[in-house]
Amino acid sequence: MRTISFTEATLEAMQEEMRRDATVFLMGEDIAKQGGIFGQFKGLPQEFGLERVRDTPISEAALVGAGVGAALTGCRPVVDMHFADFITCAMDELVNQAAKLRYMFGEQCVVPMTLRAPDGITKSAGSQHSQALEGWFMHTPGLEVVVPADAEDAKGLLKAAIRSDNPTLYFEHKMLFPRKGPVPDDDDFVVPIGKAKTMRDGSDVAIVTYGITVGRAIEAAALLEADGIDAMVINLRTVWPLDYGAIADAVARTHRVVVAHEAVRVGGVGAEIAAFIGEKCFDELDAPVVRLGAAHVPVPFAPVLQEAMYPKAPMIADAARRLVRKTL
């Protein structure tokens, strides 16, 4: 194990996969000469050249469309979306093409494309540079959706995404890039898609979450510990395919669940999880599932407004505390 930043972890993943497989290439805006707006591509063109690390026009529809075309014809493209918000400019290419081609063509093809999508609420980035859109793509059959929570996930999930023969969205939270964490030394280390990880065991309440909210849930667990409440934290790692088994196990162990994410709560990933628990684990529950997510408004600019509308550790801890004390 070494302690490296989330950014370094993604860089290692890119380097290792590009060395391992000559059909892996990378394209996006500001990535080759600039090194990426978060420094996440620094050094790649020096090692792999400008044909495999391509600066592109600002043409999201063409990039994702060309990513699909290259994936259909023997390459493993990694397309950087600059900001996850700009996936909206390539929705046909992603939803109507990438997601559906394998199924509707009777499995004649694979679409091994990875979309890297820096997402989430950052320092006053405002409504069009702050969204978490994974719920849309969980709702779209044919796509895989992974959301790393730390440096270890960043490396292992990115490598898994690149190796996957399915189109995979890799949502990397902008605030996580500088954050450091332990990462295994093994250059074949992969985090399996579709498997959750227990970050902290606990018996009183389970906080089921993913992405940046995992860190917030661990903070909440520390606050709860001070109150004598033993909280479990589940890091889903993958939003689709969802690890329903791990969720059911967490319900069976704790009988109380808080589902938390930074994406809008209404119609979000948490809604699917809460519905699943209600349908399949009802008898295990001691209390209704609590869902936490961003308010149903665009992300605002002013820091005081921005910080008011999505859940962090105190709100998660409060929800868990009330669940345990049955003061809903």
Partner: protein, 362 residues
């Protein structure tokens, strides 16, 4: 009408006969699809390319099996011309398990990766990115493959057209953009949807060379696309070829065609039917007996394809739930296990319906 030229000889004659044969196969296929669609054996939507056969035939005659094409919702001709079997196509349109896409695609979403056919597309302009990507892939893998995008005039008003032409031009990719300007975008005349007469001028805006050809003339299409293929294969980058053609049927089978006069169709086809045109261009190089034999063989091929489709089973109901993800047919795979649970929920209520149009939409 045909000019009075000397009949082609040698390789040119063979080419002309090959093009004619392909155009007749497409015509027979399209007319047959129309008949069986109206007869209720083909569900869904179907869009015919009658009148445009010279573009599919002339373009694909330049391509190798390992070159790629992307097609449109009006894609039967392109698919056949790229080398897909009529049996596989007709069985697909008849929604049978033996269809080239196992009955999951249908007319608008037919593909054949064994011949580099990356799919018809239900989205107008859906093929631009796929072709840019296939051309980029050839560069990345250091092959001399080329990729051809078929599209209509309507698609050139969509954003992906502009983004992908620019991308292919600036990266010098081995792509060929073959426009079938058939004068209608769905049911709206091209004159009402763009202010320019020649769409090819848009290519100039991206620094891409272009050609404008008579899209009823199989030789003309073949020659123009041939130049473009040669340029692309030799590293010279993309080309735009505008084929002036005509859609002799409605936008879809069943289109009441309120937007044009019946006489317009008759006038264009009398003057320009690409099959009649090629027959005239071949002149004495093709006897009437040979010409009739080509038609008879195509009709026989189609009849065989229909018989094959009719004798093929519908897909198993199970098939609805699998195939979206790799690995989803393997127990233990998380997607498989989820899909299998959904199958078990739905199957007891899945109705027994026929394969034809009477079976869909209830």
């Amino acid at each position: 009408m045909a000019k009075t030229l000397a009949a082609p000889a040698g390789a040119r004659r063979d080419l002309g006969i090959a093009l004619l044969r392909m155009m007749i196969r497409i015509r027979v296929l399209e007319e047959g699809i129309e008949k069986h669609f109206l007869g209720g054996e083909i569900p869904g939507f179907a869009h015919l390319s009658i009148g445009q056969e010279a573009v599919a035939a002339g373009t694909c005659a330049n391509l190798r099996r390992d070159d790629a094409i992307a097609s449109t919702h009006r894609g039967h001709g392109h698919t056949l011309a790229k080398g897909t079997s009529m049996r596989g196509m007709v069985a697909e349109l008849f929604a049978r398990a033996t269809g080239i896409c196992k009955g999951k695609g249908g007319s608008m979403h037919i593909a054949d990766f064994s011949v580099g056919m990356l799919g018809a597309n239900g989205v107008v302009g859906g093929g631009f990115g796929l072709v840019a990507g296939a051309a980029l892939s050839a560069v990345q893998r250091k092959t001399d493959q080329v990729a051809v995008c078929f599209f209509g005039d309507g698609a050139t008003n969509r954003g992906p057209f502009h983004e992908n032409l620019n991308l292919c031009a600036v990266w010098n990719l081995p792509a060929i953009f073959v426009l079938e300007n058939n004068r209608y975008a769905s049911t709206t005349s091209t004159a009402e949807t763009m202010k320019i007469e020649n769409v090819a001028m848009r290519a100039a805006g991206y620094g891409m060379p272009s050609a404008i050809v008579d899209g009823f003339d199989g030789f003309a299409v073949y020659d123009a696309v041939g130049d473009a293929v040669e340029r692309a294969r030799s590293g010279g980058g993309p080309t735009f070829v505008e084929c002036k053609t005509y859609r002799a049927r409605g936008h879809y089978i069943g289109d009441p065609e309120r937007y044009r006069q019946k006489t317009e169709v008759a006038d264009v086809m009398t003057a320009s039917d690409p099959i009649v045109r090629m027959q005239a261009l071949l002149g004495e190089a093709l006897s009437l007996g040979e010409f009739e034999r080509v038609w008879a063989e195509a009709r026989e091929e189609f009849a065989d394809a229909v018989a094959f489709a009719r004798s093929s089973p519908a897909p198993e109901k199970d098939e609805a739930f699998f195939g979206a993800y790799t690995g989803d047919r393997e127990p233990g795979n998380p997607v498989h296990d989820f899909e299998a649970r959904e199958r078990d929920e739905f199957l007891p209520f899945a109705p027994n319906v026929g394969t034809g149009s009477q079976g869909s939409g209830h």
